[in-house]
Subunit: 217 residues, 2 copies
């Protein structure tokens, strides 16, 4: 019974890891769609999102069955509940990538990002997708301190987010209000994606160590 | 045992209902802060948010203990898991109200909302807080069709959200880019608050009927 349970737990972990890989891919493709005004890429992100929604539901169903059939206790129970929590966050990461792809599609064939902000958004895309990659590693092999690392990376995302907001609200912004408001939202999607990744890392570290990791000062 | 369980389940329901009441209050106060450039109100929302965060954690802890001690099955298990899901969404509703209060605080003593959009934001505040009120009723006494009603209300919020976006990106917008970008975000917080409320209603209806209610066409 216990062996079955731990086998299922490992499967659940692998399943969550695969969801993170999908979220990372969604973010990479969304950033490509955004920076390349690439409609095909944008559509790809939009249709892939349904799979991530389904995976979230499947994760919850697996967790429910494990709870119903095996009634785990203590740390095992915490693990199963956390998987449901994490799946929900990862699914939301997919939604945020989808929103970025939608923003690219909305203005196509025009570019959503003006030349002077391309590098910043490329960096946002690279860092946030990298955070999702990092989650794959953490979920498969949790280790103390990993939340802290992801939280540090989140600092960088916050800085880039602030940089975009400064740029689009500066007096010398030449691209008009519609572009500025669109970018205010898009940059927030990156920032929220990073926040969700940090939430997942925090939860993973909590269930592996039993201690809620301290928030950055 | 089963009696204890159902008693605890009712307590959990009441607990979630109280969380929704707090989210409704947070949204009302945030809208007052926004429309009245009221710093005291804004600070009140900001400090109340910690209580909602704590309530979410407590809800999860209660659910965990119920699962550990009573190992519920089938629909009872579904109810407990859904409580965790709903608590997370309601906590997020509080965060969104907090973001609106922050936006009011950021520009204080100036007003964040120009006169011609005051009615729209007042309406957004009224409708979304009303959705949280409605959740209190649904959680205490679930009934079929309630998700559909909240989903209809969400239509209105989407329309108001689109109206704000149209207004701030129109050629004749006289208030500059910083105000427009701030309002693009603030109106999205209202829209997201409504989305979360719909998610909760959908989940509540699902656990009470066993059927996932159909999405609006």
């Amino acid at each position: 019974m216990r062996e079955t349970f731990h086998c299922e737990l490992n499967e659940l972990r692998a399943f969550l890891g695969a969801m993170c890989t999908r979220a990372a891919t969604a973010m990479r493709h969304a950033t490509e769609a955004l920076l390349g005004a690439d409609l095909v890429r944008a559509e790809q992100v939009l249709s892939a999102d349904a799979e991530l929604d389904q995976a979230r539901d499947e994760c919850e169903e697996r967790a429910r069955q494990m709870l119903a059939l095996q009634a785990p206790k203590a740390s095992d129970l915490r693990l199963v509940l956390s998987a449901v929590y994490c799946a929900d966050r990862i699914e939301r990461m997919g939604d945020l990538a989808e929103h970025i792809a939608s923003a690219a599609r909305r203005v196509h064939p025009a570019h959503a990002v003006p030349p002077e902000l391309r590098d910043t958004f490329a960096e946002l895309g690279k860092i946030t997708a990298g955070m999702a990659d990092e989650l794959v590693v953490l979920i498969t092999a949790p280790r103390p301190g990993s939340y802290r690392e992801l939280d540090e990376t989140d600092h960088l995302v916050d800085d880039l987010h602030a940089e975009v907001l400064r740029e689009i609200t500066s007096d010398s912004w030449p691209h008009g209000v519609p572009t500025a408001t669109s970018l205010a939202l898009v940059t927030r999607f990156y920032e929220r994606f990073a926040d969700q990744a940090v939430s997942v890392a925090k939860r993973v570290e909590f269930v592996s160590t039993g201690v809620t990791p301290a928030h950055r000062p």
